[in-house]
Amino acid sequence: MRNVSGLLFAGGLAFLLLVLASQLPYGHTAMTLGGAILAHAPGEVHTANIVAAVLLAYRGIDTLGELSILFTAAAGVGLILGHSSLRSNNVQQSEQAESGFITTRAVDLLMPLLIVVGFYIIFYGHVTPGGGFQGGVILAIAFFLPALVRPGNPIDHGLITLLEGLAGGGFILVGLWALWYDKPFLQPIFDSFLGTGPLGSLWSAGTLPLLYLAVGLKVGAELAGLLVTVVDVPDLSNENSDSNAVNKK
């Protein structure tokens, strides 16, 4: 019965989406908001990458909300997996052996390259495709890989939390800085020394690169924290779990 109703529901979704898709004019979308942003963004925000302008200037508060959603998710993961009953047999965790020679050396070689690529993508986010989110993910992986191949020396949780807090606070501070110039919260500022370069250069777009740096560090720290929390969980396979549990065959 449940299968039939599930299939019916999926079929209904397919029908609904098909009707919607047949109504949408493919390739000739009416873009009132997007058109206005495309027309005004080069003059107002001076970014070559207009997606970055939408993310940080026109929808800056949304991005702040998105960062807080990510923070809530990371806090939830820490709350759920940080429970003491999961930490009881933590001894076997530290006894895990290092990975093989080739993996460890490859990670040692890759880590600085990944860090450079991550920061490059963050700093050039307002000029080329990329930005804080993509670069932050690469940074998270760069800092997590050494902890994965060497379970003996994990990443410091306190350092991650500190970096996360600093980046989040930095985002809000840059947003508040606009109030000094009698402008709304999170509006990009073009100071005499900051971001006055020509369109398409690294030193353009006002405070947007600073905001993207904050986003990148925040996303990187958040995701690295998530990965570290998940990798710290001991083995939950059936052999060492509760005896009253129903075994899955």
């Binding site: 989110f133 998530l226 990965l227």
Partner: protein, 81 residues
């Protein structure tokens, strides 16, 4: 263009069906990474390079790593069968 799009969509849908029906969980997680990779190709063809980069880094990289580590911890990491 149409050929590349068709191949990417075919690979994506086949991998999505594989995620749902493969009995081995490790294979299912790997197939979900394949879905993300094909999706990143489609995003790049749709002239959305920012989204393509995000999908490739997060969907195919980080998410696969996260789910694979989860499998390891849940005791579902079986390469045979």
């Amino acid at each position: 263009m149409i050929w590349i799009v068709s191949i990417a969509v075919l690979v994506m849908l086949a991998a999505a069906v594989a995620v749902m029906v493969l009995p081995n969980m490790v294979a299912a997680v790997a197939a979900s990474s394949v879905v993300s990779l094909a999706l990143a190709v489609l995003f790049a063809l749709m002239k959305a390079p920012d989204v393509a980069m995000t999908e490739a880094a997060i969907g195919a990289g980080l998410s696969g790593l996260l789910l694979a580590m989860g499998l390891k911890r849940l005791g579902l990491w079986r390469l045979e069968d």
